[in-house]
Structures are given as structure tokens and as C-alpha cells.
């Protein structure tokens, strides 16, 4: 996890090459599975490709998936930088969605919908941030591994959403996991009818990427995160406070995930549903790993994942593949990514030790 501080072109090219290599392996893996399932792999890829780029509308759906993925990935860059595995990003996204929904419900009667919407996204940041802080405190004060803390908090967040949907926020007379009552149209995130995209969401993503890049590469906090992530003891002796910086990293991660959750509510579903986070948090973990923790590469990898997610729906529709197969492919993707990741870090370690032995 000891990565770049200054993105020299050389390094960028190397990371791109590694990412491409990983994708190649993923493709080989997927092809094998498709062949085993008796599906024509080439046709499957064509359908996925067409399903993502076949028309502008399809492309906008890819962008809709890309937005939360990239936001979560940006957040995760902070925690990975300090060597924290923030699995809790999924739950942080959910809490962002919960806080956003709460503010929107409160502002249902409001005459100034855009103020309500703006503050609801702000609340989303706070919600995600609080949830991340909880995991952070468990780590720094309680000594609980952040992976377990995060996973546990994900379940709690999911439980909380279900309770809200079945309980206090239920539709009148209904107890169904279909979600809360849909919000009136003036509380939907405005989108450009011609483009079918929301400029606000796009600007938020662009801001997230740029802020993250600047924070990590040019600020003291970014440098400290890296120092602590690389060698905690040394950084401590150097006078840095690891615990405090872990909490800072968690707050950033939670905040970005919270916005992503909020956008899912205001921009996509227009209500709170149990699966509001859509596994984008977990997927973002893979995005970041696959992009070698590089902030400029992450949006591209996120885009690739978004294409797979949106285009993958064509498999059951066009090839009449049993629809669970797209799930199998995604699972394979996860495994392939992890395998490549493990192999690469071992390779790199050998390289480093080889040099200094």
C-alpha cells in the first residue's frame, strides 16, 4: 500500500499497464466461465458493450452507476492511503442515504426545494461521516479491526434502513420492503432533459476527484496519511498522531460515501429503498485496488465497472442466459481482482527486497 505521492508520467503508465493486465486476466477468467456455461463469449461481450454504449440513454445509465462508484472510490483512497480497509463504506453510503431521506422528509412542505435538497446532501455527508467515525473510534479506541467494525456497522445500517422502511417511514397501511413513499418531483435532483444527466451530480464527482487528488498529493494531511500508512511506528516517533489521522481519513471516506448515498436517494430512486447502496461501496473497494490506489485512474476503472453493471443486464435479456450468470461473472471479477492484487504485491515485495538485500 505504499504508493505514489507525485504522479510522474512513468508511474502513471506503469499503473495503467498493470490495470490493463488485470483486466485481461479478468476477461480470460470470464470467458472461461461463459464457455463453461455454454454461452458464446464473443456475443456476450458485444452485448455488454452495446448495452453500455449502444445509445446515449444507455450511456447515461452507465454514468448513473459511475457517479456513486467514483465518489466511494475517492473516499476509499484516503483510508487506503493510511492503510485502513474501510469495508464499512457500504454502510456509510447507507447512512448518507438515511440522513438525506430524513432531511427531505422534513422539507416535504418547503417552498424552497433546492435549499432542502442542498441541505439533504449536506446531511448525507454528515451521516456517512458519523458512521465512518464510529468505525474509526472502534479501531483507535477499542482496538477493533476496521474490517470487522465496518462489516458490523454495515449490518447495523442495513437493519436500520429496514426498520425505518417497515416502521416509522412506512407508506400508510403498507409493510413492504419496496421502500418509502416516493418524493414529489420538485425534490428530485434536477437533471438536464436533453442529456438525461444531472449536472449537479457530475460536478460533485468532478469536485471529489480533484479535491482528493489535491488533498493526497499536495497537502500536509495527505503526506501524513501516507507516512503513517507506510510506517506507523516511524511516523509516531516523528511526532505524527496516527489515531487522529485515521479518524480524519475515515471522515473523508464516510463523507464521500455519504454524498453517494444521498445522490442515490435524490437523483436515482427518489425514495429510500433497502438496497439503496446497491453494493457500490463493495464494488468501489475493487475499483480502488484495481486502479493501484491512483486517484486519476480510479474514475476510469469505475467507469469500466459501471459498464459491466449496466451492460451485464443484456446477458439474460439477449442471450437468455440464466440471469444468475451475471452474478457469477461479477463474482469471478472479484476473485480475479484479488488474485492479481495478491500476486502483484508479492511480486513488488520481492522486487524491493531483492534490491536491498
Amino acid at each position: 500500500m505504499t504508493q505514489i505521492s507525485h504522479a510522474t508520467p512513468e508511474k502513471f503508465i506503469r499503473y495503467t499497464r498493470e490495470a490493463l493486465l488485470t483486466l485481461l486476466i479478468v476477461f480470460a477468467f470470464t470467458t472461461l466461465i461463459l464457455l463453461l456455461a455454454g454461452a458464446p463469449p464473443f456475443a456476450a461481450y458485444i452485448h455488454i458493450f452495446r448495452g453500455s454504449f449502444g445509445s446515449w440513454i444507455k450511456f447515461t445509465h452507465v454514468i448513473k452507476a459511475w457517479i456513486p462508484l467514483t465518489l466511494c472510490a475517492c473516499g476509499l483512497l484516503y483510508t487506503f492511503r493510511i492503510n485502513l480497509w474501510n469495508i464499512g463504506v457500504e454502510g456509510q453510503m447507507m447512512m448518507g442515504a438515511v440522513f438525506t431521506t430524513a432531511v427531505l422528509r422534513w422539507g416535504l412542505e418547503s417552498q424552497v426545494p433546492f435549499v432542502v435538497m442542498g441541505s439533504s446532501l449536506g446531511a448525507g455527508i454528515i451521516g456517512g461521516g458519523i458512521w465512518a467515525l464510529l468505525a474509526g473510534y472502534l479501531k483507535t479506541k477499542g482496538g477493533v479491526n476496521e474490517i470487522f467494525a465496518g462489516l458490523g456497522l454495515n449490518f447495523v445500517a442495513q437493519g436500520l434502513i429496514l426498520w425505518l422502511i417497515f416502521g416509522p417511514w412506512k407508506r400508510p397501511g403498507v409493510a413492504s420492503m419496496s421502500g418509502t413513499e416516493i418524493f414529489p418531483i420538485d425534490l428530485w435532483l434536477p437533471y438536464l432533459a436533453i442529456l438525461r444527466l444531472s449536472p449537479v451530480a457530475l460536478m460533485l464527482v468532478a469536485a471529489a476527484v480533484v479535491i482528493t487528488a489535491l488533498m493526497l498529493q499536495y497537502t500536509r494531511i495527505g503526506l501524513n496519511l501516507k507516512a503513517i500508512g507506510s510506517n506507523r511506528e516511524a511516523a509516531f516517533l516523528f511526532g505524527l498522531k496516527p489515531d487522529r489521522h485515521m479518524l480524519i481519513a475515515m471522515v473523508f471516506a464516510g463523507g464521500f460515501a455519504g454524498v453517494a448515498g444521498g445522490l442515490q436517494v435524490t437523483g436515482v430512486y427518489h425514495r429510500l429503498i433497502p438496497a439503496i447502496s446497491s453494493n457500490y461501496g463493495y464494488l468501489a473497494l475493487l475499483v480502488v485496488m484495481l486502479s493501484s490506489y491512483n486517484v486519476w485512474l480510479a474514475p476510469f476503472v469505475a467507469f469500466f465497472f459501471a459498464c459491466l453493471n449496466v451492460g451485464g443486464i443484456q446477458l439474460p435479456m439477449m442471450l437468455e442466459l440464466d440471469s444468475s450468470l451475471s452474478g457469477v461473472i461479477q463474482g469471478a471479477l472479484v476473485l480475479a481482482t484479488l488474485a492479481v492484487h495478491a500476486w502483484r504485491s508479492r511480486f513488488r515485495r520481492a522486487e524491493i527486497f531483492g534490491k536491498y538485500d
Partner: protein, 398 residues
């Protein structure tokens, strides 16, 4: 210059020739099919709700020449996280769909949003009431079957069969639709118990347990397998399913192998008894074909109307594939004597001699649903506000 002139002239000639032969040309060329899309909430082969719809679509392809179905199943946020209804509709419209059927209550908001975005495409939302509530745009219609009758028959068969007097109802989520279906079941059971078997009303127990959705979603809903087991283990010897999948019959079959005298009644799909024949008393099912054909023919001929249709059984033969939207096939486990009583019951329902929704009738909390002698209107049945007095289980979310 001359070249351009030549090209222009030949193009014009070509167009004219083409126009001249077009009428014949169209007849000769294979006609573009009328494509309709279907969004299924569960797997297309679930032996339940979604399969009934899928086969309804196949019925349309067979009976309305020139139609072609495209479908996507497992359209629910647990199976396809991040996939939205408007997104799938966009895709189907691009593939040429002129009418789209959404088969779940869960898709209500998504399909309305999609209908607003595609005013030239027709939409059928099954089980919804957007037309009744006035929320539907002109291109959105609602379709549902009067399953209340099927459920009454199921309840009747259950009460005739039970030895313990305890009937369990495996409920999905709680809303108006599921309350009215559970209530119908209870009314059928109560009638059999009190009027046919002439047993003490207090000895009939009818309990509803809701799992939280139309089928099992691990970690989100209660597990229907466990709920069914729990019923059978606590003295309920007949379990009636209100969910989209077949857990009640499967668990019943397992209990039967353990030597327990138990029965089950699945739901939704005509073939749902298969695989559990020794416990299956029969199945109330939907036959969506005829309803779909009506809408699709109207859409093709330009006679589309946004309406709310609640289609009933064809009482001449409730199992007529071409006319009856709701049916009931008796299962192998139903005793022959009960079968005769069931036929009489169905006849009486059909002739109108028997209307089970007749007052006095009370809601679960004791408030009046129907005054003495009053029979319920469609609206009162559709918007069933609570379970009925005499039933146990939740009427709404706590």
C-alpha cells in the same frame, strides 16, 4: 455537373419505382413484429407468480399473430442491485417494445416514472391502482385478477381438510392486496367450518404470518421455509401460501416424509402442485393470457384505453384457459368427498347465491367493516384496511 444530375435523376427514379411497388412490397416482406416487454419480479421459472406471467406472455405470442415477447426476470433490488425500472424500460423501448408489462406491486413508482418518460409506449402495471387513484398517465393501465375467489376456494378446501382446526397463512408483505387475499381465505375457511362441517366457530384458528416481501430475500425477509416449518411444528396442519414461491408445499412434503399428517396450498401458478403432490390440496392460480390479449389487441388496433381491470373467473369453467383469469385446480391430496363439496361451493359462488363478503363483518380491532346484510363493494374489498375479526396476525406494520 452532369454526373450530379445523372445521380439525382436516377435516385428520383428509384424512389418513384419503390413507391410504386410499395403496397405489394409491404405485403410480401415479413411484417415487423409487435414487440412487448415484460419485467418479472422473480425468476421466469419460479413455479409461482412470475412463471404465471411468463406463460401469459407466451399465450399472447401464440394467440395474437405477429407479436413477440422480450422479458427480463429477477427485477428486484436484491437480485439486481442498482438496476432501476426506468433503466430497463429504456432498454426495452430501444429494442422496439411498444407495450411493457410490469408484474409487481414493487414496481409501482418505477413504472409510473417510465410511463411519463415514454408517452408513446403503453404500460400495464399488474396489481397496481394508479388508474384508480388518478396518478396514472394516459399510457398506463392496471390489471389484476379477482384472486379473492381463488383464495376463498383455497380456504374452503383447507378447512374441510384440517384435523386440528388450525390453518396457517404464509403471508408476503402487508398491504391492501395481501390483506384482502388473506381475509378471503379466512372467509372461505370459516364458511366451510361453520356452514358445511357445522363445527364450533371457536375451534377454528386462522393465523397469518408475514415474511416482508413476495419471496425470500436472505437477511431481509423472514425465511418462508422456517415460517412454514414453524406452522407445521406448532399444530397447524394446513398451510396456505400467499407468497410467490413454493416453500409451503416443499416444507409440507418434507413433514409428510417425517410422518406428519399435513397439507399445503400453494399460490399463483397452475403447475405449483408439482413436486408436492402428496400434500397439495390444490392451487388457486392466475391465468394472465386472456387479460394481456385484451390489452395488446387494443394497443395494436389503436383502441388503447387507460383503465383499471379486475378480471374474475369465468364461472362456466373457472379453469378455461381462454376465458378465465382466475382458476383453481384441485390437488391429489384433496379427499374425494371434499372435492364434491368444493364443486358445490364453486357453483354457489358463481351463481351469486353465495357472497362471502356479506355483513355483519368486523375488522380485527372490532370496528365495523360491513353492517348486517350489507355486501362489500369492489372498492371496499380492494382497499381492505385490516384483517378480519377472527383472524390472528398483524394487520399492519407495528
Amino acid at each position: 455537373m452532369l454526373k450530379k444530375l445523372l445521380i439525382s435523376v436516377s435516385v428520383i427514379c428509384l424512389v418513384l419505382v419503390f413507391l410504386a411497388i410499395t403496397p405489394n412490397g409491404i405485403e410480401a416482406a415479413p411484417k415487423k413484429p409487435y414487440v412487448f416487454g415484460m419485467l418479472l419480479v422473480g425468476p421466469y421459472n419460479d413455479h409461482g407468480w412470475s412463471q404465471a406471467h411468463y406463460e401469459g406472455g407466451e399465450y399472447v405470442e401464440k394467440n395474437v399473430p405477429g407479436t413477440k415477447m422480450i422479458y427480463i426476470d429477477k427485477v428486484n433490488p436484491a437480485d439486481r442491485p442498482g438496476v432501476t425500472i426506468p433503466q430497463l424500460v429504456d432498454d426495452m423501448v430501444e429494442k422496439g417494445a411498444e407495450l411493457i408489462i410490469a408484474n409487481s406491486d414493487d414496481m409501482k413508482d418505477g413504472i409510473r416514472e417510465a410511463a411519463f418518460m415514454h408517452p408513446n409506449v403503453h404500460f400495464i402495471h399488474v396489481s397496481g391502482d394508479d388508474v384508480l387513484t388518478g396518478k396514472a398517465p394516459k399510457n398506463l393501465a392496471n390489471l389484476m385478477g379477482r384472486m379473492e375467489y381463488g383464495k376463498m376456494i383455497a380456504g374452503f378446501a383447507a378447512a374441510l381438510t384440517t384435523k386440528t382446526g388450525k390453518i396457517g397463512y404464509l403471508g408476503p408483505l402487508i398491504n391492501e392486496e395481501t390483506r384482502r387475499q388473506a381475509a378471503s381465505c379466512y372467509l372461505g375457511a370459516k364458511y366451510a367450518w361453520e356452514k358445511v362441517l357445522r363445527k364450533n366457530p371457536n375451534d377454528l384458528k386462522f393465523h397469518v404470518t408475514w415474511i416482508g416481501f413476495w419471496f425470500n430475500i436472505p437477511g431481509v425477509t423472514a425465511d418462508p421455509t422456517q415460517v412454514a416449518q414453524n406452522f407445521f411444528n406448532t399444530g397447524y396442519d394446513v398451510v396456505i401460501s400467499g407468497i410467490d414461491t413454493t416453500e409451503a408445499v416443499v416444507v409440507g412434503g418434507q413433514k409428510r416424509k417425517e410422518g406428519k399428517k399435513v397439507w399445503a396450498i400453494p399460490y399463483d401458478y397452475v403447475g405449483a402442485c408439482k413436486g408436492g403432490s402428496d400434500v397439495c390440496l390444490g392451487v388457486p392460480y392466475f391465468n394472465w393470457g386472456p387479460g394481456y390479449v385484451g390489452f395488446i389487441k387494443a394497443s395494436i388496433s389503436g383502441a388503447w384505453e387507460s383503465k383499471w381491470l379486475w378480471l374474475g373467473p369465468d364461472w362456466k369453467n373457472i379453469n378455461d384457459l381462454h376465458t378465465s383469469t382466475v382458476g383453481f385446480v384441485s390437488g391429489p391430496a384433496l379427499a374425494p368427498s371434499a372435492r364434491l363439496k368444493l364443486d358445490t361451493f364453486i357453483k354457489n359462488l358463481g351463481s351469486g347465491n353465495l357472497n362471502l363478503f356479506t355483513g355483519p363483518m368486523y375488522y380485527q380491532d372490532g370496528s365495523t367493516f360491513l353492517k348486517a346484510g350489507e355486501s362489500a363493494s369492489d372498492n371496499q374489498v380492494w382497499y381492505m384496511k385490516q384483517l378480519l375479526k377472527g383472524m390472528t396476525g398483524q394487520s399492519s406494520a407495528k
